[in-house]
Amino acid sequence: DVKVTQSSRYLVKRTGEKVFLECVQDMDHENMFWYRQDPGLGLRLIYFSYDVKMKEKGDIPEGYSVSREKKERFSLILESASTNQTSMYLCASKIASTEAFFGQGTRLTVV
């Protein structure tokens, strides 16, 4: 089975902190994604990466950056956390011919 692992299930951070969310997949997938999920809004794509060191902006990249130094790992960075970034963050991975496999999610609260 594909396994996508997010480093934390729950995080509480203070406004202005730099926050790192880590995601690791074990199936050698080229493509990795970061989404945020908010009630009534569904999943919104923040960034995705189709190869090591490659990244593309999604629909809501403002306030976020990403890093992909190794194929299996994709990190989401909140440069200066704000309360409106309180959300559920979901990492996913896939290869071109399959659909996305998700991690268990990180519920981030910014206070």
């Binding site: 569904g42 999943l43 919104r44 794509l45 659909e99 998700f102 268990q104 999610g105």
Partner: protein, 112 residues
């Protein structure tokens, strides 16, 4: 108007009932349609995947696509309390391996 519309619910039905979950969309270029199931405090998992129009059946689940009406459905027969979850539809164009367009999700509650 959103590209994909999905009623957020909650939809509450008794155990054993047939459940119908639906999404409408506006982009006629969508060709791949997916249903994901998300249990509380978990990530979504792929439930059904269909290409273009028609029906696909997997056990108690049937996915139906009507491209002429831009309407997709997920039917659950003999619903069980373990089916209680949020169901998200997603879709994409043929050349877009990266960009899935998501519905907001419908919360389903199956009462014992």
């Amino acid at each position: 108007q959103k590209e994909v519309e999905q009623d957020p619910g909650p939809l509450s039905v008794p155990e054993g009932a047939i459940v119908s979950l639906n999404c409408t969309y506006s982009n006629s270029a969508f060709q791949y349609f997916m249903w994901y199931r998300q249990y509380s405090r978990k990530g979504p998992e792929l439930l059904m995947y269909t290409y273009s129009s028609g029906n696909k059946e997997d056990g108690r689940f049937t996915a139906q696509v009507d491209k002429s009406s831009k309407y997709i459905s997920l039917f659950i027969r003999d619903s069980q309390p373990s089916d209680s979850a949020t169901y998200l539809c997603a879709m994409r164009e043929p050349d877009s391996n990266y960009q899935l367009i998501w519905g907001a999700g419908t919360k389903l509650i199956i009462k014992p």
